[in-house]
Amino acid sequence: MLPLCAAEGVGVIPWSPLARGRLARPWQSATTTRTENDQFGKGLYGATEEADRRIVDRVSEIAQSRGVPMAQVALAWMLSKRPITAPIIGATKPQHLDDAVKALDVKLTAEEIEKLEEFYVPHAIAGFK
């Protein structure tokens, strides 16, 4: 889909860019009203937890070394990718909006991007059939 959108000049506005908060905190370190009650979210991310955990750990490492929240690292990664126009972020706590905007100033190095992507495995399509 992404090469198609790049070739055709179609903007891309990804939903759930922080994977329902999974990329914004250490793995299963906290539950929220939403982690408990978002049935749709469980269907999106339940199948790839082992692979995803290693990526969340990497986000955490890079966030710690830079001294910024994990959400900023995860969004900075997405913002660095062509042809992403704008991630659709959710904000239900005050820091969510500020983290999203501050992510625009976080420029990841090639080495950091490589570390974030090292453990990625293709995910089955989720959210539609």
Binding site: V12, T33, A86, I88, G90
Partner: protein, 190 residues
């Protein structure tokens, strides 16, 4: 805030889009975790202060409550013409009505008017099909969307959550109709 063109259109949007599924009456629809109107409004206000001009909602979020909250906040806190409002159509709001939901001509023309009423505006900037409707011919859907744009009720069109091969069929339509092409795609499917 950084602003970029939405695809090859001339429309400028902030590089952060505020997703408004989080805002809606928790007693309406499928999401019990949403913030009610009083709790939601400070987030919309803060987003505007940060320079965000791009707000995404859908007709089905909290059964229309999200659109109502977003519409009122934009009216109260800013100038509507300076804001890019995106909403969506597909999921049914009335499960007892067989013509509620889907992407038939009847459904699209009814739902755009219902969204405009809830949002309290004359037009939306980006009108997106929330999913593909396998039970409606794509030509019917695309012509209805084209008519929505020609009627001045939407500025641009978009599509969410489908396979790339399905999405390319819309590109063919863009070429053939020389009209308003799809300008946004809101789900990575790889």
């Amino acid at each position: 805030m950084d602003f970029v063109n939405l695809g090859r259109t001339g429309l400028k949007v902030s590089r952060i889009c505020l997703g408004c599924m989080s805002y809606g009456d928790p007693n309406r629809g499928m999401h019990s975790w949403t913030l009610d109107e009083a709790a939601s409004r400070p987030f919309i206000q803060r987003a505007l202060e940060l320079g965000i001009n791009f707000f995404d909602t859908a007709n089905m979020y909290s059964l229309g409550s999200s659109e109502e909250i977003v519409g009122r906040a934009i009216r109260d806190f800013t100038k509507r013409d300076e804001i890019v409002i995106a909403t969506k159509v597909f999921f049914p709001l009335n499960p007892n009505d067989p013509n509620s939901g889907g992407l038939s001509r009847k459904a699209i023309l009814r739902e755009i008017d219902a969204s405009l009423k809830r949002l309290g505006t004359d037009y939306v900037d980006l009108y997106q099909i929330h999913r593909l409707d396998p039970n409606t011919p794509i030509e019917e859907t695309l012509e209805a969307l084209h008519d929505v744009v020609k009627a001045g009720k939407a500025r641009y069109l978009g599509a969410s959550s489908m396979h790339a091969w399905q999405f390319t069929r819309r590109s063919i339509w863009r070429t053939c109709m020389a009209g308003r092409g799809l300008s946004a795609c809101s789900r990575i499917t790889t």
